[in-house]
């Protein structure tokens, strides 16, 4: 049965197509063959599994063409934020589509693809800054209409607790704790606390934008990178790190506008 591509859970015999994407899962003897085509690029995998399902959902846009960073930078037209105010606005972010395979209570990332063109940038100076996945967004006062296969919405609350006007035209988010929700649209809720003209802290919130939305499986934790590194490389701290939650906020210390501050 051919289904149009939507986010959700599918069984092992599915043919999903639409918008230039096709995902096929077929039984082959005691194996499964996974085939995916997107924008002319095709991927095939063989899976040894009897019973299970695949989950297709939006993931953090930090995996393509290959993973080089943990940071997402959204650039927008400058906003001047009044002192001692809180403002809510909506931005967009690029979406990557993750295909997870799930069986016996465990899941793993099988494939990631995207209809959005990736572009990277540098936040901060070359020696101490960080490479970021770059995205240009308009500013929306209401939730914008987006194609969930291409773009998601960031519900951003900007807090200026200081006594000066602050100009903001970029927000950088770290992938740790980057919770993406989907339903009619794809969304992340975020908070940006402004400390000065060059320093702010951003954080992705783990609450859904509205009730009834489904939480995406993140590609970041599916890779289980941090656990492997902890066990293999830093045995002395492994127990400590395993029990202390990873910091999910990001301190933007190299500027909030067009001009990037050197350290």
């Amino acid at each position: 049965m051919i289904q149009f591509i939507v986010y959700g859970t599918y069984d092992y015999s599915c043919h999903i197509t639409g918008d230039g994407i096709s995902v096929d899962l077929e039984r082959f003897a005691r194996f499964l063959t996974y085939k995916r085509v997107c924008r002319g690029e095709s991927v095939a995998r063989t899976i040894a599994s009897e019973n299970g399902s695949i989950i297709i959902n939006p993931v953090e846009p930090l995996n393509l063409p290959k993973e080089v960073t943990r940071y997402l930078e959204v650039h927008f037209n400058p906003i001047f934020v009044e002192p001692e105010t809180t403002r809510q606005l909506y931005l967009t972010f690029p979406v990557e589509i993750g295909v997870f395979i799930q069986a016996r209570g465990d899941n793993d990332l099988l494939d990631v693809f995207s209809l959005a063109k990736p572009k990277y940038s540098l936040y901060g100076p070359p020696d101490h800054g960080c490479v970021t996945r770059w995205h240009e967004s308009n500013i929306y006062p209401e939730i914008p209409d987006t194609d969930p296969l291409r773009e998601g919405v960031i519900d951003l609350t900007i807090v200026n607790g200081g006594r000066t006007w602050i100009e903001v035209s970029r927000a950088v988010f770290v992938n740790a704790g980057m919770t993406i929700w989907y339903g009619d649209y794809v969304v992340m809720s975020a908070r940006m606390e402004l400390f000065s003209n060059i320093v702010a802290e951003t954080r992705i919130l783990s609450t859904p934008e509205k009730p009834g939305m489904i939480r995406s499986l993140p590609a970041y934790s599916a890779k289980k990178v941090s656990v492997v590194e902890m066990v293999n490389q830093i045995p002395f701290y492994s127990a400590k790190k395993a029990f202390i939650p990873e910091k999910t906020g990001f301190l933007m210390e190299y500027g909030l506008g067009e001009n990037i501050a050197d350290d």
Binding site: V68, L122, D127, V131, W134, F236
Partner: protein, 286 residues
Amino acid sequence: MTNSTFDIAAVFAEVRAYDILAIVVILVIAVIIAKIVTTFMKRKLSDRMEKYELNTLITVMWWVIILIGIFIASPHFKVDLTGLLVAGGIIAVIIGFASQSVVSNLVSGIFLILERPVKIGDNISIGDVSGNVEHIHILSTIVRTFEGIYVRVPNEKVFTSNITNFVSNVARRFDYKIGISYREDASVAIRIIQEVIAEEPFALKNPEPSVFVDKLGDSTVDLVVRIWAPSKEWYDLRTSLLLKIKTTLEANGIEIPYPQQVVWVQKALPAEGTRVEPGYREGNGR
């Protein structure tokens, strides 16, 4: 028993309760210091050194501190260490000369581990050796060259050489020089190159790439292209992007000419066998 013979009973007969207390206190302090120092080393170096090397270093450090403690406590044993010190001094000088380079490499290794100018996996150049760092041992650094050759560089050389770490910074720049024909519109060529760069994910948006006319050369208008890329991706991007730029320029009819010289002939060449008239000459120039 003569005076020259070591009489242990006589020696300990002179040791009083105060000396025993002092010895115990000094040794306890030495053990505590050794524990603190080795714990600190374990914390600071566990992610920077191989486990067996770290254990060896910690054991050596432990015994050095304990021996220092014993040495400090030795007057309370009422033992005359003069002869021992002389013998020890001579042995130390001999060992010092013999192991000069080893100690030098060891100390350099410790400083390299603390300073960390290079890390495992970094793409570096030390003196005439270039490649990826495979291991940083306490005495040497192992580099796998780009040809896949194993090279062991003594830490003293690493420490005293100029080290170029190509991936220490998160991003780096690379340049191209592209010559187009004088017949072509340079502004069109610049726009095409900018469009090709914009399509490349790892050609960073910021710092912005720059494309400009750098020189009016003998045969070409020389354009310079400057692009920033993530340090771990710059080489792949550098090797693939130039071909894309060349192909796109050619597809858009922009000529990248060979080195050339235009020869202007003032008069038509005479036919073969015809006598050349006085006044015929060749010239060149643009």
